[in-house]
């Protein structure tokens, strides 16, 4: 690179920074909005099923039935929001969404229990199939434990049988936040890179200021560098801010070394900028750029393993996810946060990020000068 080019790029970067940071509202969007989003996601994306509102219809009203209900409450998974003797009230509560689970204990429950063939009915609101599946598992386990304790109390310990002892590693309390917050970081950084490059370039084209830059002595490559470097810096600052927030505010343990994540972040931001530039070359208006960006971003998040495990997807979609930089970055971030993974064990993900960034950047670099002229 000639000294002249370095100087030109430096001036361009300065100009871009000034443009980015001049408007207080833009500053707020760049630095405050990721923090708001992390807070929102951190609290809202909570797939732990606790305090499920439960409606109880106890036809028996015996000491035994009350003890079973107590077992539900004591577990912490269920909150009794209403009781009644009429099944119609249960229907009402589920229809109106006041309860997600109904527990119906039939008449003669205590009597049947004594002779060993009692039954209870659990009714679930399946409109939230995810919560319903988990709640169903908990409810059955509670009934099972209750039954076991009865058998044990009666002295007829069931002979044989198998007991399962489960232990969760990396996240012993199975808190979903520990898994989700690191992923949010990856999502926010991608969004910021896309928005700032794609929309900013198209905007200059719309306003005609790109033409001014075109007739300046800057070469297209210098122009691209000048446009993207400030965004990369902003991306890294945002990354540092939200990572700190995740550790300090949400108490997410950071078990790995920061440099493992930093290397990945640089590659990831590079990929994000390249995709942003590519979108800018195929969009004439900001609205188009925005819609195109969304058309990439939404599927990228859905197919990243953020909310839904990739292995449960159909095979075709599992292949598609290999082309998704968000997937590889999330794998690295989660491994660094939760498992203290090192650079060496993550080489496939690094390599994938590097390849994706290189290929998209190459296409963008080829297209960019042409789109400027057009």
């Amino acid at each position: 690179m000639s000294p002249g080019a370095a100087l030109r790029i430096r001036e361009m970067v300065k100009k871009e920074f000034r443009q980015l940071l001049r408007d207080p509202r833009t500053r707020a969007i760049i630095f405050v909005s990721p923090i708001i989003q992390l807070l929102m996601f951190g609290y809202a994306v909570n797939t732990d099923i606790r305090h499920t509102p439960t409606f109880v219809v106890d036809h028996d009203g015996s000491a035994d039935s009350r003890q079973l209900i107590d077992a539900f409450v004591a577990s912490g998974y269920f909150d009794v929001v209403g009781r009644s003797g009429r099944p119609a009230d249960l229907v009402y509560a589920l229809d109106h969404g006041q309860a997600l689970l109904g527990l119906e204990i039939p008449l003669h429950f205590a009597r049947d229990l004594a002779v060993g063939r009692a039954s209870v009915q659990i009714i679930l609101d399946g409109t939230e199939s995810n919560s319903a599946t988990v709640a169903q598992g908990y409810a059955q386990r509670i009934v099972q434990r209750f039954a076991l304790s009865r058998v044990a109390a009666a002295g007829t310990v069931p002979s044989g049988g198998v007991d399962l002892r489960a232990r969760a590693w990396y996240n012993p309390n199975l808190e979903s936040r520990v898994y989700n917050v690191p992923a949010v970081i990856g999502m926010l950084i991608m969004l910021m890179c896309l928005l700032l490059t794609a929309l900013a370039v198209v905007r200059e084209r719309e306003l005609g200021t790109l033409d001014q830059l075109r007739v300046s002595p800057l070469s297209p490559t210098e122009l691209m560098l000048g446009k993207t470097l400030p965004v990369a810096v902003v991306g890294l600052i945002d990354l540092a801010a939200v990572t700190l927030l995740a550790i300090l505010w949400f108490d997410i343990p950071m078990r790995g070394a920061p440099h493992v994540m930093l290397i990945a972040a640089v590659l990831y931001i590079l990929a994000g900028l390249a995709i942003g530039l590519l979108i800018s070359t195929v969009s004439r208006t900001q609205q188009e750029a925005f819609m195109s960006m969304f058309l990439f971003f939404q599927p990228a998040i859905i197919l990243s393993g953020f909310f839904y495990p990739i292995e449960s997807m159909p095979t075709v979609f599992q292949w598609i996810t290999l082309l998704n930089p968000v997937r590889h970055f999330l794998e690295i971030v989660r491994a660094v946060f939760l498992k203290d993974a090192g650079v060496l064990s993550l080489w496939p993900q690094y390599l994938a990020l590097l390849l994706l960034a290189a290929v998209v950047l190459r296409v963008a670099v080829v297209r960019f000068p042409r789109s400027m002229a057009g």
Partner: protein, 371 residues
């Protein structure tokens, strides 16, 4: 208010949308892509969980237990481990999510009727999948255990829990996602498209021209809204049609009620989009604010995917002013529960209020700006 002028503004906006044909295509393609992705790729029905087995018993009894896991359909055995230390690596590398450890004395315990114990080591990093995997493992072991006990002499546990699921009998995640997705799609379309419409006029300097015409601001707002209401309603119909025909999602309620509620929701969301657009005057800012103010709440705080009950109080409070929350209740209620206006009255009123507030905000900020 003059209908001719209003229609003229609408026609101008429609011409502008048509000229920008790609945005229009995207407005129709985006919902389809989301629907197909959510419908085909995404499933909360966790299956084929990768299972590694450390069988220290190496007996017929232990193989039977592993067979119970495999035949359940929830687990796929990916690896048999030789030593306990290997469990570490398998979980860290993510090769398996669950390691089933069957201790050396297992077969002897089962044969002599002593309570046997097996261990499940879970990769808890993904708490959601781990919880579900644990529940499945629990159920499989319990089922297996009951069979062993029955084969002996005892009669098994004295209580049977009968589970019934309402509204979504097969617990299919598609059935919950499609109605909720309609709301999210609406929020995206409404916010994204309208957020740009007025900011664009400001950036291009055509707003002064528009202000100089005799068109009243109410006519500008409503005129600009009309085409987007059309796009939005079409998108809802499209999403509903694909949901019913392709994904077989049940539709148990009243179509007319859904249409009316959708219209209310759209008016509020579009009004909010125009308000943001007029207040920000820049397209980049407007899109960012629209994302924060409409799309994210619709995704996170509407009960679409994430249940609202476990959230902290502050977020629960905020969710009350998120229109999408009421709309998701309405779509799920109409699609899956088949309930009518008697149950959805509160949500309906909430959405009328939002429509009024959204439009009022749009008109108010617009007056200030023009002056």
């Amino acid at each position: 208010m003059n209908w001719t002028r209003l229609l003229a503004v609408s026609r101008k906006e429609m011409l502008q949308i048509r000229r920008d044909a790609r945005s229009l295509y995207l407005a129709f393609i985006l919902p389809l892509v989301l629907l197909l992705l959510f419908g085909y790729a995404i499933t909360f029905d966790i299956k084929d969980i990768r299972l590694a087995v450390l069988d220290e018993s190496r007996s017929a009894a232990s193989r039977e237990l592993v067979a119970s896991f495999e035949s359940s359909g929830y687990f796929t055995v990916v690896e048999y481990l030789g030593r306990r230390s290997e469990a570490d690596a398998v979980l860290e590398r993510g090769r398996a999510r669950l390691v089933l450890v069957i201790p050396p004395g297992y077969a002897a315990d089962v044969a002599t009727g002593r309570p046997a114990e097996v261990q499940a080591l879970l990769d808890g990093a993904d708490a959601n999948t781990a919880t579900i995997a644990q529940n499945y493992a629990d159920a499989i072991v319990a089922g297996h255990s009951t069979r062993i006990v029955r084969a002996g002499r005892s009669t098994g546990l004295p209580i049977r829990a009968e589970t019934r699921v309402w509204y979504n009998e097969t617990l299919e995640s598609r059935n919950m996602i499609v109605p909720g997705l309609v709301a999210v799609i609406m929020s995206i379309i409404a916010a994204m498209l309208t957020a740009l419409t007025i900011a664009r006029e400001w950036e291009r300097g055509t707003m002064e021209q528009l202000a100089a015409t005799p068109v009243h601001r109410l006519e500008i707002i409503l005129g600009k809204l009309a085409p987007y209401v059309g796009i939005g309603l079409f998108d809802v119909a499209l999403a509903t049609g694909v949901g019913l025909l392709v994904f077989g999602v049940p539709f148990r309620g009243d179509v007319l009620l859904l249409a009316v509620m959708t219209l209310m929701f759209l008016l509020g969301a579009l009004g909010l989009g125009i308000f943001i657009s007029a207040a920000m005057k820049s397209q980049i800012l407007a899109t960012q604010v629209a994302m924060l103010a409409t799309f994210l709440p619709a995704l996170l705080l509407s009960g679409f995917i994430f249940a609202i009950e476990p959230m902290p109080l502050v977020l629960k409070g905020i969710s009350r002013i998120v229109p999408a929350r009421y709309y998701v209740t309405v779509t799920k209620g109409i699609f899956l529960k088949g309930v009518g206006i008697d149950v959805l009255l509160v949500d309906g009123i909430a959405m009328v209020v939002f429509a009024a507030v959204g439009l009022a905000l749009a008109i108010r900020v617009f007056r200030k700006e023009i002056a």
